[in-house]
């Protein structure tokens, strides 16, 4: 399990690897919250290395979305597998966040 962050022109690029449950959600929140509203306005979350997500992962994504939206930024998701995409859809996440094919596509949408 790991969460990697990288700043690129005011965008925080985040890569999550592992099952996105309450354990990973805590690491994700800590890693991302350090930058939002300070060094980064927009957030791109790469979920390619995530084979599983539950409501804790969904809550962590939506919590960051609320903060970013409040600050006038944009949040996009990248590369979710079919199982993860299904949960994102069911929970309404994809109604507020766009799912892009790759990082380049996401950066072009910002």
């Amino acid at each position: 399990m790991k969460v990697e962050t990288k700043l690129y022109k005011g965008v925080l690029l985040t890569q999550v690897e592992g099952e996105f449950d309450m354990h990973v959600a805590a690491t994700f929140k800590e890693a991302v919250d350090e930058y939002i509203g300070r060094d980064a306005k927009d957030l791109v979350v790469d979920l390619e290395g995530v084979p599983f997500i539950d409501s804790s992962g969904i809550g962590a994504l939506l919590g960051r979305y609320r903060r970013i939206e409040h600050l006038g930024g944009k949040m996009l998701l990248v590369g979710a597998c079919a199982a993860v995409e299904k949960i994102l859809r069911l929970s309404g996440v994809l109604q507020v966040m766009e799912l892009c094919g790759d990082e380049q596509q996401a950066l072009a949408r910002l």
Binding site: D21, H23, S55, S56, G59, A83, I87, L90
Partner: protein, 141 residues
């Protein structure tokens, strides 16, 4: 009953993935589809996370019991804790309900939609028992 497993875990977030793994292994052995195994993993993850987050409110010295009863026609997953319990179970099962704004109240909604039956028994100060049943396809031949 064909088989029975019991797992007793400390209320640590690390243990949620262990419960999922055991649940998924049992489901795969019972010839459920990959899709159904994924759904079971989500439901079990929600039940165990609820016990850790809400039952024990983040306390790490609680015990979460996870039992799996395997019958010919169904698997029953039971997650129980001796935590603070739920005062109004009906309200807690409403999709929008959450005592934690970051969890969106989706936990019970996922358990309900991904399992065939869901029963929740709880009372304040007496812990919570979540019983989830997944029916198995009829064996051919």
């Amino acid at each position: 009953m064909k088989n029975q497993l019991k797992l007793s875990m400390r209320s640590l977030s690390d243990n949620v993935s262990v419960a999922r793994l055991v649940a998924a292994t049992v489901a795969a052995e019972a010839n459920l589809t990959l899709h159904e195994v994924d759904e079971i993993k989500v439901a079990v993850s929600e039940a165990v996370s609820n016990a850790v987050i809400h039952g024990y409110e983040g306390r790490e010295d609680g015990i979460v019991e996870f039992a799996i009863d395997i019958y010919e026609d169904r698997i029953v997953y039971v997650v129980s804790d001796c935590g603070k319990g739920i005062a109004d179970v009906e309200a807690a099962r409403e999709p929008a309900y959450s005592s934690d704004p970051e969890r969106m109240g989706l936990g019970f909604a996922f358990m309900e939609s991904f399992m065939d039956e869901l029963a929740v028994t709880s009372a304040p100060g007496e812990g919570t028992i979540v019983r989830m049943t997944k029916r198995l396809p009829k064996q051919s031949g």
